[in-house]
């Protein structure tokens, strides 16, 4: 049974290989199709034709596309994503330091969203047309209609500028604090490992506004799906059976209804997580968060081919893993679903 599952997971990962290959090809072509010449950008405004040509040759951009692609593939095979021309650092290192920052923020946002959306959706479904149902509708409408950069700026305006409750939106830690030793790259976890509660508190207060921004964005689809799924399940035959068997209200609600309603919520959660990775790009810009989103924007503006390719590839791999994780969770929750699908 267990070996079977491992085998199936391995097969699912293999099935993802063509997708990843496709992404490698498409990003390679797209980055080069974009306007802007990295050699010109890199050489600076004072450079002449000759120095630009030299730089182009040193970057390997004077070769034909198929040649460049072959070099790129060979480097990829050695785990080398190339060097970022704007920072001078290997792309893989840039991603490794910035990805935890983005992931920590995303997880925090997702956690806030789930912690509010699921109870809200359940309460709304069990009391249709009550005050809490209308509140749920209001929250959903706000969540879908406010763009993240606006929510972010709005929160900064209220809680930093007007009320002074939160620290300046300048990254993961204020200047007076030193980042904890790198273990997971998540400051909240690393500071606890280091036993430094002061840094934990500081990084938490830096994170709360951007995480709320993401949370408000993620709340809407989750709350709506939870409500709809619960409404559907609560009117199902088997919940009627559970009630007719005299099971307690709590058992009916949690064991019978909620466990069935969680399936579509799980699907939505996967989708929302990938939306959040996208929404990160803007939120990181607003809060000067040193994540991969802000890195990608800068790289795109500078026509930093290696950085953009590395970013897209990293995201693609994350989507693949995320979908696999969701599929595995599905099989855990629902015995009717196998991994073969």
């Amino acid at each position: 049974m267990k070996r079977d599952s491992l085998f199936l997971i391995g097969r699912r990962l293999l099935q993802a290989a063509p997708v990843v290959m496709g992404i490698i090809v498409v990003t390679f072509i797209l980055t080069r199709a974009l306007p802007g010449d990295p050699a010109v950008f890199f050489a600076g405004p004072a450079a002449d034709e000759k120095s630009i040509a030299e730089i182009r040759a040193s970057l390997g951009l004077d070769k034909s596309w198929p040649e460049q692609f072959w070099v790129y593939l060979q480097n990829l095979a050695h785990g080398d994503l190339g060097k970022s021309i704007s920072t001078g650092q290997p792309v893989i290192e840039e991603l490794a330091t910035r990805l935890p920052a983005s992931l920590e923020l995303t997880f925090m946002g997702l956690f806030l969203a789930v912690a509010i959306a699921i109870p809200l959706g359940i309460l709304a479904a069990t009391r249709p047309n009550s005050l809490i149902d209308h509140l749920c509708r209001l929250v959903v409408t706000i969540g879908v209609s406010l763009p993240t950069f606006f929510t972010g700026l709005f929160l900064v305006y209220i809680f930093y500028f007007l009320l002074g409750l939160s620290p300046a939106p300048l990254g993961r830690l204020g200047i007076i604090h030193i980042a904890p030793d790198h273990v997971t790259g998540f400051y909240l976890i690393d500071s606890l490992i280091a036993g430094d509660l002061e840094v934990f508190r500081a990084s938490f207060s830096q994170m709360i506004l951007p995480a709320s921004t993401l949370g408000i964005f993620a709340l809407a689809p989750l709350a709506r799906m939870t409500r709809a799924a619960m409404l559907g399940v609560l009117s199902s035959d088997f919940v009627r059976t559970a009630r007719a068997s005299g099971l307690s209200r709590r058992t009916v609600l949690w064991v019978y209804a909620f466990q069935n309603a969680i399936l579509p919520v799980l699907t939505t959660l996967g989708m929302v997580f990938s939306f959040l990775l996208g929404a990160n790009v803007l939120v990181e810009k607003v809060f000067a968060w040193p994540g991969i989103g802000s890195f990608a924007i800068e790289a795109l503006i500078a026509s930093d081919y290696a950085a953009v390719q590395g970013f897209v590839l990293a995201m693609a791999l994350m989507y693949v893993l995320l979908n696999l994780a969701i599929d595995i969770l599905y099989t855990v929750v629902d015995p009717r679903i196998g991994l073969e699908g």
Binding site: D237, R240, T241, A244, L247, Q259, P335, R336
Partner: protein
Amino acid sequence: MESRNPLLVVEDLSLEFRTRTGVVKALENVSFQIEKGQTVGVVGESGSGKSVMSYAIMGISDPAARITSGRIVFGGISLFEKSQQELQEMRGRELSMIFQSPRTALNPIRTIGRQLEDVIYRHSSFRGRQIRARALDLLNQVRIPDPEKRYRAYPFELSGGMCQRVMIAIAISSNPWLLIADEPVTGLDVTTQAVIMDLIQDAARERNMGTILITHDLGLAAEYCDKIIVMHSGHVVEVADTEHLFMRPRHPYTAKLIGATPNASRDLAELSSIPGNLPDLRAELPACRYSERCERFARDCLESPLPRLGTGAGHLVACRYPL
């Protein structure tokens, strides 16, 4: 026939649904009673209020339902005077119910063993290993082959007939006094139908359990029921012992129902259909809701109150001009 200590008395029960398009008068002045150990059939076409009535007895009516008059007395206790908590504890213990389409009536993502355990845990003092032993015993009682193995099965891994056996096991787990079977064999194949019905009948006999069999299949009702209640659009139109009812139906609707039921001695061509449809229950309704479809209609059929004629031996008919 009618004893002093009936198991269940439904008296003058009226129930309506408040919907956006108006008030649906789903049940009106429904009265009947059931003795201990008796099997009573409730027949009538779809929409006649059979299920609504059984949900009202179980106390699991839709939130939009309002009981506007009457009372339900079960084992000498008036159910409407009980608290929600008390009713919840009675369900599954003293009154149980099984449903149509057993495969969707069971939780799809929980093993049948766990579902059985949930109910045993709720209603008995068994704990730990005893619960499992009791659950296996029940699966044996409903004659599920290889219960140890089926115990860990999910509903989708079992046939409809097997799922209905599990439903019966859940329903009889606390030896209830009354079992309501709402179309228990509709959708099952004929051989399975007989097996399931025999199972219900045996379980009822062993426990001296009252049974309400809701069905639109008169043949089934004739075979298994002591007494039959005929319903038409929220009214009880006729109540009689099974034999009486089939020998001598008094209500024109009952006669039509019997005429519309196929059996071995009758050619399909001899079957007649009942003209018209059920009336719109949101509208102002005449005293006799069958009057629009009735061949014996006379003007005073529309006038309240409709007489309820007793013709001896517990035979009741709600008709001004019975057959």
